[in-house]
């Protein structure tokens, strides 16, 4: 063990120091900015969470699992998982071990930032001690791990299909600089350590390479340029990092505790939204996931590109991407960092200025309210069934639902027998939440007047907003699929199972990903027939393509999306497609090659 | 009669007459085409392009003429009278000949409604009011002083059609699509012109007609106003002021136009009515010749040996007319074969 450089310094560390100073400074300022941009209540909440022991533990665990190990990615794609975790975790370990070495061998140099990074240049270590050989072994081990990850990354870049990705993002120029410098860092480190191994020691990787190099480059002077190159590669990477997708590395470490603290997007461009944008690693998993991507032209409208355009401030494209999206939430479901594509888009829509804003304050709901009061006949409790706008275009759902309610002997009445007001969710999706609130207030008046204890919805679009935005304390808001499942389970509804009936359940976006309801409809359907799964299902189900979320997609543009969703549903050749959303139903019916029915219709015809 | 080739007189050498002559020749007969005008081809010969493929009308006429080159065709020949014989008909022709025939095919076509009868539209009074035929001829000749870089133009549908006051309650069938075709052609020629179509109903029943309509709306921004033009006046600069009710809006509209095209409807050729009466063939209450049956035997009259093809029984499109001509040829063949 000896220090090789008496001055403990060599000029080649300067690039690294510049890069390090820049990136740390940048991230610090960015972090302060993001936190400062949060609304006051959110900021307080976040800062409190940082010192709450429960959150500290969750945050550390999440950061470790997500940022270093990439657990989500492992679940999704092992090759990609390995690639990412080998680089992230390997690099983390190398840095950690570097510090360990410094602390163990030259604790007096711990204040020098560059010492742990360039340890082998400054300190010659002997492998004869167990301590030393173990550390050197681990160093080589993690370096090899990183290099294997880098190798996969290179393969992925040129042939993404090999690693199981149909499409990957197209990189901007700076992203390319970042990428190539990142690729360069570790081979250069290997070279540097290899050239230095016969002096400073090495292990199973560096010693053989050292030996190979010495056969034809037998000059110690070769070592210094490689250390320079290694340092410069680090410098380049760190200097471009804030301007590339690699910004997700520091951003995500802030995003995780913020999300754990329950912070939501409040401003389209500031605070949490800004952090989410920077947390996007640009991996492009959302491209394949996005239902719009069946049209090649729409690949550029996925969340990864929204984040990129938000960084660039390209307003035209931001608007285009924000308005086109179906808001199905699939990108969030597959996203490694959990970027909320739909919420981010709705926030952009919210920001829009209008010359004319609707107003519903003048609607007189008294006739509708008194109708439900009369309908209740002086009794409180009972079910109030709100069919909603879309169900009026699919009267079969309403008929089946009311028929089932009668069969189960439930006391019920319609909230909108002759059409009612819209629930407000479509306005919310269009970014007009202020106007939606006016409708919410009006609908609340009617619901409260009815004295019901359960509000039944056959439309997941309505269901979601009634659940999330309506102040309905004391009233249970339930989707009909759940309600009927309970009635079946309680034996109040007798459903005959039909042999040979193969039903596939289409998870409507608003019901599944939106409200987390996956199992009840399947359980209810199982009473009527055999439930089989679609190619992609549960959180990864594919939007029907009819979503109200998209503002701009035309009927023609949606057609291939509908077909793709249907293809996914019919993988196992079901005899019938079943859904729980009138909009999905209306969308599928037009294009399906087999019967499509609402869950209520299926249950009604089997009871 | 036996062993002698029967004589078939075809009255009118428009596309119906030519096509029937072609088919009858192919069946081994020697039909005789009698045409009042100096040339064959009828109305279609005066038209420029045909919907829905925008194929040149001249191509169709020339092809039919080429295929009937060997058929005896008497142009500039009028029928002075037509008489019934024991087993045929005799036609007294304006060239002094008398033609004895075993079968007569009415391919007399239609007359374009005289747009000046709709006085409120001012055809023949206002310089800038023309008819569909005038416009079609302009497409052919590009020679009409009235059509000079119009900034605003209008088409009035149903001029003399579906109009009890004009004596024709029938739909002329082809005007809607013709108006849209002509409006598109005008827009292609003068892209900056505002073009308005005033219609009562749009009857775009045929193959690809609706595509024309969508194209007119979407690609050319042609304005369709549901409402019949009530009156046309002349402004001080010679342009025409058109008034109508925009019935979908429930409000009267007024617009000043550089050119107004009247979509003159289709009425029966009065000569055909005259000949029909001479030999006791019924004229229907719509003014067209009456078929034996409007469903199953539209090409046959109530008289043996008298057949119909094309617009003499009602407004027809070109493909319908051609199909009917073929059908009539077959009906004549069956009739003559049965007679032996």
């Amino acid at each position: 063990m000896r220090e090789r450089i008496a001055s403990h310094f060599d000029p080649f560390v300067i690039p690294f120091l510049i890069g390090m100073a820049f990136v740390l400074g940048y991230c610090l300022i960015a972090m302060i900015r993001v936190i400062a941009q949060l609304p006051k209540a959110d900021r307080k909440r976040f800062l409190v969470s940082l010192i709450t022991p429960k959150y500290i533990w969750i945050n550390i665990r999440d950061i470790f699992l997500n940022c270093l190990i990439h657990v989500k990615l492992w679940k999704r794609n092992r090759v990609l998982g390995f690639m990412h975790s080998s680089i992230a975790f390997g690099w983390f370990m190398i840095i950690l071990l570097g510090h360990l070495e410094v602390m163990l061998f030259v604790p007096e140099r711990i204040h020098l930032f560059y010492y742990p990074i360039f340890f082998n240049y400054f300190v010659a270590e002997t492998e004869s001690t167990i301590q030393g050989s173990l550390l050197m072994f681990l160093m080589d081990f993690f370096l090899l791990m990183i290099l294997s990850g880098i190798a996969i990354a290179i393969i992925k870049r040129f042939a993404s299909r090999i690693v199981g990705m149909r499409r990957t993002t197209r990189l901007s120029l700076l992203d390319q600089v970042g990428l190539y410098s990142l690729w360069a860092i570790f081979p250069l480190r290997l070279l540097a350590e290899s050239f230095t191994a016969h002096i400073s020691g090495g292990s199973f990787l560096t010693i053989p390479t050292n030996w190979v190099f010495r056969q034809f480059l037998g000059n110690d002077l070769n070592a210094l340029p490689t250390w320079w190159a290694y340092s410069i590669a680090l410098c380049v990477f760190m200097c471009v990092l804030p301007f590339t997708r690699y910004m997700h590395i520091p951003a995500e470490m802030l995003l995780i505790p913020m999300r754990n603290a329950g912070i939501r997007i409040r401003h389209p461009r500031k605070g949490f939204a800004l952090l989410e944008v920077y947390s996007c690693p640009g991996c492009g998993v959302c491209i394949d996931a996005c239902p719009m991507s069946v049209r090649k032209a729409n690949c550029k409208d996925c969340t990864v590109y929204l984040n990129r355009q938000l960084r660039r401030g390209n307003e035209r494209r931001i608007e285009e991407i924000s308005d086109k999206c179906l808001l199905c939430g699939k990108c969030t479901a597959v996203c490694q960092v959990g970027a909320q594509g739909p919420e981010l888009r709705v926030a952009q829509r919210e920001r829009r200025k209008y010359a004319l804003s609707p107003s519903f304050a003048g609607i007189n709901v008294r006739p509708m309210a008194s109708a439900v009061v009369n309908g209740a006949g002086g009794e409180s409790g009972g079910v109030l069934y709100f069919a909603g706008c879309m169900t009026q275009l699919t009267p079969s759902i309403r008929r089946a639902t009311t028929s089932l309610l009668d069969k189960a002997g439930v006391r019920w009445q319609m909230m909108d027998p002759d059409g009612g007001l819209c629930c407000g969710r479509p306005l919310m999706m269009a970014g007009r939440s202020e106007q939606a609130r006016e409708l919410i207030a009006k609908n609340l008046e009617i619901i409260r007047a009815s004295g019901c204890d359960t509000l039944l919805l056959s439309c997941p679009i309505c269901y979601r907003i009634f659940k999330e935005e309506y102040a309905l304390e004391g009233i249970r808001v339930v989707h009909h699929s759940v309600f009927f499942q309970e009635l079946i389970a309680a034996g109040k509804l007798q459903v005959q199972r039909e042999d040979g009936l193969k039903l596939v359940w289409h998870d409507p976006c608003e019901l599944g990903r939106g409200c987390g309801i996956y199992d009840e409809p399947r359980a209810a359907l199982a009473a009527a027939g055999e439930v089989i799964e679609a190619g992609k299902h549960h959180a990864e189900s594919i939007c029907c393509g009819g979503s109200l979320g998209s503002l701009t997609l035309s009927f023609e543009q949606r057609r291939p999306m509908v077909q793709n969703a249907l293809d996914n549903l019919t993988v196992e050749n079901p005899s019938e497609i079943v859904t729980g959303c009138p909009l999905c139903l209306a969308t599928f019916v037009r294009a399906a090659d087999r019967p499509v029915r609402d869950i209520a219709e299926v249950l009604d015809s089997h009871s | 009669m036996v062993n002698r080739t029967p004589v078939i007189a075809i009255i009118g050498a428009g596309i119906a007459g030519l096509e029937a002559a072609r088919q009858l020749s192919a069946l081994g007969y020697k039909p005789i085409l009698i045409e009042k005008a100096p040339v064959t081809g009828g109305h279609v010969a005066e038209w420029n392009r045909l919907f829905p493929d925008m194929s040149p009308a001249a191509d169709l006429v020339q092809s039919l003429e080429a295929q009937t080159a060997k058929v005896r065709t008497m142009t500039s020949t009028e029928i002075l009278s037509i008489n019934r014989l024991k087993d045929g008909y005799s036609l007294v022709l304006s060239d002094g000949n008398i033609l004895i025939c075993q079968a007569v095919l009415f391919a007399t076509g239609f007359h374009l409604f005289d747009a000046s009868k709709k006085e409120e539209y001012g055809y023949g009074i206002y310089e800038r009011v023309i008819t569909n035929r005038d416009l079609e001829q302009w497409f052919n000749t590009r020679h009409d002083a009235r059509i000079h870089n119009p900034k605003a133009m209008g088409f009035v549908h149903c001029v003399g059609s579906r109009d009890i006051k004009a004596g024709n309650t029938q739909c002329s069938k082809v005007c809607c699509i013709t108006a849209i075709k002509q409006a598109i052609e005008i827009k292609e020629e003068f892209p900056d012109a505002e073009v308005y179509c005033f219609y009562m109903d749009l009857r775009l029943f045929g193959k690809k007609y609706e595509d024309f309509y969508i194209k007119a709306q979407r690609d050319h921004g042609i304005h369709f106003i549901r409402g019949r033009v009530s009156e046309v006046g002349e402004a001080i600069d010679g342009r025409v002021v058109v008034k109508a009710e925009d019935t979908l809006n429930g409000k009267p509209v007024k617009v000043t136009l550089d050119l107004l095209v009247l979509m003159a409807g289709i009425v029966c050729n009065p000569d055909a009515q005259h000949y029909a009466r001479e030999i006791g063939v019924a004229v229907d209450d719509d003014g067209f010749l009456k078929s034996r049956d409007n469903v199953a035997s539209i090409t046959e009259s109530s008289r043996p040996g008298v057949f119909f093809a094309g617009a003499c029984t009602g407004a027809k499109t070109v493909p319908e007319t051609l199909a009917e001509a073929r059908s009539a040829a077959l009906a004549i063949h069956q009739y003559l074969s049965k007679r032996g």
Partner: protein
């Protein structure tokens, strides 16, 4: 405008107008509006052109106004008209000539209705007999007085003292003709020249040297419209109609308007004043209005009758500029003298509309 096209239409709409022997029925309102018109119609026909025109002091309204105001059923109007026919029959005439356009329309409409529904005619005959023990023959010819004047236009032209030309320039005067709605809009074949391009007035104007101008709103109603004027709440509607016509004819700078209906000259004349008071707009030259004359007044002027004898002083719009244009002499001092040569009152002057 293709003149030959109009001529072609005129050829289609010529009606037979007997030359002589007419039973004349007056208008209810014209005598109040333009009292000299009917007088001069008779004077010109009888005294100047030597025609036999009979007038009965027993005749009443034709009930057309009440009918068009929806205050009486048509059967009532028919019975009143039947009495008129009875008077004509009793006087030994077959030809009925009416001074009023609405009467003309009313008579024509009733005769056409009887033609379609003979049982109705029988009932009216019975009703008339019950009511006043009278019987009638239907007239052989029904004409409006302007039809007769149209028929006589050539004779008048021969006797004309003045031509409808601008004396200074020799240019024909630019004349707007306005036909009463009930003249031929209901039955185009009953009007000379039909409904679209009636030539009853334009024929006179052209025969007497003028030039008729055709403007987009030429067909439009003067705005009277009975109920629209009689009910004050609707009067703005009446005015707006007239306004529309003036706006449409304005660019043509007409020298005068001639009409053949009782209401039209009145509204085309008086509303010019009202419009000028409302929005300060005048339509004639130099702040004057456009004189709106009856065809009888015009015939009188052409024949050299003194303008004040023709009653032109009762027009709201001053006629002096027009008289000057044609070169008709007049004595300004006599304008407001009565028949007895004593001064009748002089009207107050409008705010905007220039009057002499």
């Amino acid at each position: 405008m293709i003149y030959q096209g109009k001529q072609k239409i005129w050829a289609d709409y010529q009606k037979e107008i007997p030359d002589n022997h007419w039973f004349y029925v007056r208008s209810c309102i014209r005598q109040n509006f333009f009292p000299a018109s009917e007088k001069y119609f008779l004077k010109i026909c009888r005294d100047m052109l030597g025609r036999d025109i009979y007038e009965s002091e027993h005749h009443t309204t034709c009930a057309g106004i009440a009918y068009h105001c929806d205050t009486i059923p048509q059967e009532t109007a028919m019975t009143v008209v039947a009495r008129q026919f009875a008077l004509m029959t009793e006087a030994g005439y077959d030809n009925l000539v009416t001074s009023c356009i609405t009467s003309f329309g009313n008579y024509t409409e009733i005769l056409e209705t009887w033609r379609e529904f003979p049982e109705l005619e029988a009932r009216i005959r019975e009703d008339l007999w019950k009511a006043c023990r009278r019987e009638f023959n239907k007239p052989k010819y029904v004409a409006h007085a302007s039809d007769l004047m149209y028929k006589l236009r050539g004779e008048i032209a021969e006797r004309a003292q003045f031509q409808l030309v601008h004396r200074a320039t020799g240019e024909p005067l630019r004349i707007v003709e306005h036909i009463g709605c009930h003249y031929s809009k209901m039955f185009p074949h009953k009007g000379v020249g039909g409904a679209e391009y009636p030539c009853v007035l334009s024929g006179m104007a052209e025969a007497w040297g003028g030039q008729v101008i055709d403007y987009p709103e030429r067909r439009h109603c003067c705005g009277f419209g009975f109920r629209q004027y009689f009910v004050k709440a609707n009067r703005g509607y009446s005015l707006s109609n007239t306004h529309k016509k003036f706006e449409s004819m304005e660019p043509y700078h007409p020298d005068m308007i001639i009409t053949n209906c009782p209401g039209c000259p009145y509204f085309l004349d008086r509303w010019q004043y009202v419009i000028s008071e409302m929005n300060g707009k005048t339509y004639g030259q130099n702040g004057y209005g456009i004189p709106a004359l009856t065809y009888e007044e015009l015939a009188g002027l052409v024949l050299g009758v003194d303008p004040w004898d023709l009653g032109l002083q009762v027009h709201q719009v001053a006629v002096e500029p027009l008289l000057d244009k044609i070169g008709i002499p007049y004595d300004p001092a006599r304008k407001y003298l009565g028949m007895d040569e004593k001064k009748i009152m002089t009207p107050g002057l409008p705010t905007s509309l220039k009057c002499c």
